[in-house]
Assembly symmetry: C2
Homo-oligomer: 363 residues x 2
């Protein structure tokens, strides 16, 4: 079946492009001898995670236990839950997950460490944890250096837990212009390398330095000391990655297929996709949604079920009710979280559907 004959709106994935993206990042990691542990929150689809592993990833990263469970169900047995786990229910689920997979977790507090250590003691096998360090994003994480070392020391007094790595997410690299991004990344890695040395001088052996986001992963792979990168978005990319200069429009693999359902005035059109397909991420940023192959069309605003755009009529291309448009979203990760299934294709031929098995796993 032809892609453009499908009922819309719909999230569609170009498998050729996705495979190229998967291979390219795997090559970068391999060349620089860092472990690739892609963040699968971008797609939440076990089949895609297996493609990443086949290409060379050594394990995966997830944000939630619910995502880890879905991925473990598919046979994946090396998973970093990059999130502090708190509370009886979550710790019980961590215990169950550890019966069938290697599960690493991240944390930035002693309180969270105490709960996780109980799980390790019950199972008579240490839980491997990464200590989250704040390298400038100011979200989670202890400060590099002494503060991190002191927490690592306190955690080392707990039985059932082993701090094996330092982890950071340089979310602030997204805001850094291309010209200064390498400085942000260099500083990030220096902070972590220095913290690891400080821990080692204190008798705390920490082997892993785990970093990564799509905008920074290729730079981080070059930095001495990094052992693991965790990019996520690179598998599909989006206009945010294009605007950051780390992907081209041709490397964007996930798009929304939408239909023109209204032509209320000569220079305005309405499509059947709004925030329920695109989310509100990036709204207002120039070119936040890109209509593939139609430079004459500009998306102006979206509401839940409507996307409203304008036409450059001087271009002379018609646009009729019923026409199908293909649109690259601004931030692809939350888009996958809005769809129960994605349609896969090559060229313009539909291959099939995949369930977004990790969608909606809020806990």
């Amino acid at each position: 079946m032809n892609l453009f004959e499908l009922d819309t709106p719909r999230l569609v994935v170009d498998l050729d492009r996705l495979e190229r993206n998967v291979d390219e990042m795997a090559s970068v990691a391999r060349e620089h001898h860092v472990r690739l542990r892609p963040h699968t929150k971008t797609h939440k689809i076990p089949e895609f995670a297996h493609m990443q592993l086949s290409a060379g990833a050594a394990g995966i990263t997830v944000a939630k236990l619910g995502e880890a469970e879905v991925m473990a169900d598919s046979g994946i047995d090396d998973i970093l839950v990059a999130y502090p786990l708190w509370g009886t229910e979550k710790l019980e689920r961590l215990r169950a997950l550890r019966e069938r997979a290697r599960i690493l977790v991240s944390l930035d507090s002693f309180e969270v460490g105490e709960g996780i250590a109980r799980v390790g003691r019950e199972q008579r096998r240490d839980v491997e944890v990464y200590l989250e360090v704040d390298t400038g994003h100011h979200r989670m994480g202890v400060s590099p250096g002494d503060e991190a070392r002191l927490l690592a020391r306190r955690l080392s007094t707990l039985t059932g837990i082993a701090v094996t790595g330092l982890l950071t997410h340089a979310g602030h690299a997204y805001a850094a212009p291309l010209a200064t991004r390498d400085q942000v990344v260099a500083r990030e890695i220096q902070d972590l390398v220095m913290t690891r040395a400080s821990c080692q001088a204190d008798g705390l052996e920490i082997t892993e330095i785990s970093v990564g986001s799509t905008p920074s992963a290729r730079m981080e792979s070059l930095e001495p000391g990094v052992t693991e990168v965790r990019p996520g978005t690179y598998i599909c990319n989006d206009t945010a990655m294009v605007n950051l200069g780390v992907a081209t429009l041709e490397q964007c693999a996930a798009t929304i297929l939408a239909t023109v359902v209204g032509r209320p005035s000569p220079d305005r059109f309405v499509i059947d996709a709004g925030t329920k397909c695109f989310t509100s991420d990036g709204v207002g940023r120039s070119g936040w949604l890109h209509v593939v192959g139609r430079p004459d069309l500009t998306m102006e605003f979206i509401t839940e079920e409507h996307g409203v755009g304008t036409i450059d009529r001087d271009a002379g291309h018609p646009l009729r009710i019923g026409d199908t448009l293909q649109i690259i979203p601004s931030h692809v990760c939350p888009v996958f979280n809005l769809f129960d299934v994605v349609t896969t294709y090559r060229g313009t031929t539909v291959e099939g559907e995949l369930r977004v098995a990790g969608r909606g796993k809020v806990r």
Copy 2:
């Protein structure tokens, strides 16, 4: 079970508040002799739609056929699909839905009317349609007056369709300050009443004037000529409605229950809920997320799985890892679309869970 003992994050609904909201809007409509046809895209839960019908609503509004199907499955038999339906698959679903419920649809073009008329002819029973008029939101809709009359006339030449109403959504009323909102509403209704008169003078009998959004519904109910209002958000409200002056914080019935998972610095805290619970709607607007009962806590920014806030330490209230917070979202409608289930409660006692059966119905 106590609400605050639940694992988080979680969407929770205060049934006492919800019932009061349902009753209040039903009273407004009853007093002013307008039909209430609430937009159920806000909650997407058949049980809540039945509460609205029991309180006096004469039917419901939905945005998508998938939502209509879910509501029809629950026995609701009077549904307005306030969206232009296009394409073979959707028209086939419209036909099937009409076998078990009264289905009205809206449109703003002759092209969409042609497809819908085919369904009416096949079933030998006219499809009732509302013609969408643009009263200032500039999303969909034909211009009031002559343009609307001419389209109504063209549509009247089609067999299988009957234009019975004029519909508008005054989305621009959301942006109007309270002081001028009544002028926006008055103008909206004048446009529609004038258009209906123009149609009538042309021999086109149009009986219904269908308007409504939560910010405008109470004003619209007062306006002569209006026959139907379609507010949605009023059932739960959100900080956007509070900021517009049409609800109080005490009338907000849907909140996110979240846990403090990080205290990375003395004046910063991190909760386990981000855009995957709140969406990005309203981000950056002052007070876009409201932490119930904790004026000392201000949400600063959110990413997919993290919410980051600051503490006014002068207030002297402690905040520890593991504490549960209850947070009113900025825009409640897309929040329901992120959750498979909601937890209901009265006081602080959990009543049960309801499935968000209409979640994710993009088509």
